[in-house]
Amino acid sequence: MEEFYFCTEGLTVGYHGVPLIKNIEIRLKKGEILTLIGPNGAGKTTILKSIIRQLEPLSGVAWLDGREIQRLSGNAFSKKVSVVLTDRVRPELMTCEDVAAAGRYPYTGRFGRLSEEDWRIVQEAMELVHVGELRDRDFTKISDGQKQRVMLARAICQEPEIIVLDEPTSFLDIRYKLEFLSILQRMSRSRNLSVIMSLHELELAGRISDKLLCVKGDKVDRFGTPEEIFTPGYIAGLYEMTAGSYEERTGNLELEAVKKEPEIFVIAGNGSGTALFRRLQREGTAFAAGVLWENDLDCPSAKALASEVVLEKAFCRIRPEQIQRAKELIDSCKKVICTLDLEEAGEWMEELRELAGYARGMGKL
């Protein structure tokens, strides 16, 4: 147990005595980032609420720094754990600085007055999350993204050892999403801060997290490093995806493929085809693609969207069988589109040039 900063043993959480997720086993070292992923309503928030003591766990124990979290005093707990939640706060007549300064509460005396030192820490935290210029603005009159960052500043002011965030990036645009997560990552490195959060953005979860906890149904489906979690086909199963596809290795996300006999054959490669594949999907046109090497940039989207893809193994010369299959598809399609610049291409493109010539001969290209 000693080496882990935060861990749970057989933790079962739920509401009103009804267990929602059973036997949660988390092992987290100091300075590590843990992300909870899983479908809506799976209970990610319930787990987070139990960790931050908003909910009594139904059974099992959570340990923080070698002590049971339920046994810590309110004040001791607040100096170790701070939170950023999705609950909307509507404080009346409070400036952003006031809201951030609320994080100093556990460190103040009887009447909650802040010392010079406290204000300095508040100032630092606000600058760290780039809301320094919002100091005197009314908290209710700033954007959701700014609010979220002020709430992070508040949590940082609390000088926690572990910070718990529920879907912190939901209201942020792409710039602030990346910035927000970068701040967390920097703090986890520089201050050895541990982070536990839930995220909907899988590609971000897979990049920032040291550990992932996959919540599904009434249990934790998987717990491990991103490499262990993002195995081919796993995400579709975790989220019970019924439309579209997610490619675990590249994070490539596609809408539902048009499942009909292909009308168009696309000779693509080197990333030149992806945009076209997506346009055809939008137009509801079924297509086939080839011949693509398995390591081609166009491969993930082609596999997800095309009715059929003629593939060749990576780093191999295209074999006659593949060309044969592609020609059959061209025969059955009404039209052929080539997105590659075949004249510029190297000698291994010879077979593709032959294919294009075949299509041109039939008047389809």
């Binding site: 004040n75 939640l85 706060v89």
Partner: protein
Amino acid sequence: MKNRRYMLSFFILGMLVLAFLALNLCAGSVPVPLGSVLDILMGREADPVYQDIILKIRFPRTLAAAVLGGGLALSGYLLQTFFHNPIAGPFTLGISSGAKLVVALVMVSALSKSIQVSSLAMIGAAFAGALISMGFVLLMSRAMDNMSMLIVSGVMIGYICSAVTDFIVTFADDSNIVNLHNWSKGSFSGITWENVALMAVVTFVTAFFVFLMSKPISAYQMGEVYARNMGVNIRLFRVLLVFLSSVLSACVTAFAGPVSFVGIAVPHLVKSLFQTTKPLLMIPGCFLGGAVFCLLCDLLARVLLAPTELSISTVTAVFGAPIVIFIMIRRRKERAE
């Protein structure tokens, strides 16, 4: 910069309290010159008629209006904090009316047996009534997460309690009932020095405890979840808040009957004056503001149609109700933004 605003606000409130204390002592069906009032207060020789009016009637009444007004405003402030609702107050939530009902019951049954009810017993009865109403409100607040519905149900509780009180008062057979009738409409009249001493002790002690709670109250303003994360013992905090606000509104009701709108209007005005919601400032601010508000309203109740006296709630409603409407309109606007 901010501190200067706070100091100035306190100065204004303090001055207003003093000014209205003086006005309330001087004005009335028999006007007393300020010089004579000062003479009497200093214990110097003065007209014996004036002396009786000031010392036996106006002075205790004026002090009561100040102390109870402060208590009422503070009680409203606590309830608004508790329910995160700007129009929560002892009157709108039916707490005053609940207190009134139990006090009326106790008084009528005591009068029928010709027992004199002590002030302390009145406070006790009012406190019991306040807690019963508060219990109902809390039960309903669990069933309904919509805050406007909470107020509506509070107002309903208030009406039911008032109806039952009227029923009791109507069918009670005693000459003292005239007094009871006046009281049940809300009035600062007939307050004795003994009353003043007791209400001052109860109100100041309670207000002191409220002031000690200003730190957890400030954490609670960010919402329950964050307050708990700050290490506030939410269950204990809520119990204390309910208890303290009930004591305050019970104390007021026991002596002056139900007084409407002070609990909502004053915290709102004080907030606007200070431009902050920091409890450390709001708690003393509300107390002073409530004192000013009730002194003004009691003054108007006495002098507007002198020698006939208006009930205090009639006057507080005239000033308070527009403020409540204003708050609701502004809230709607903020929501829409």
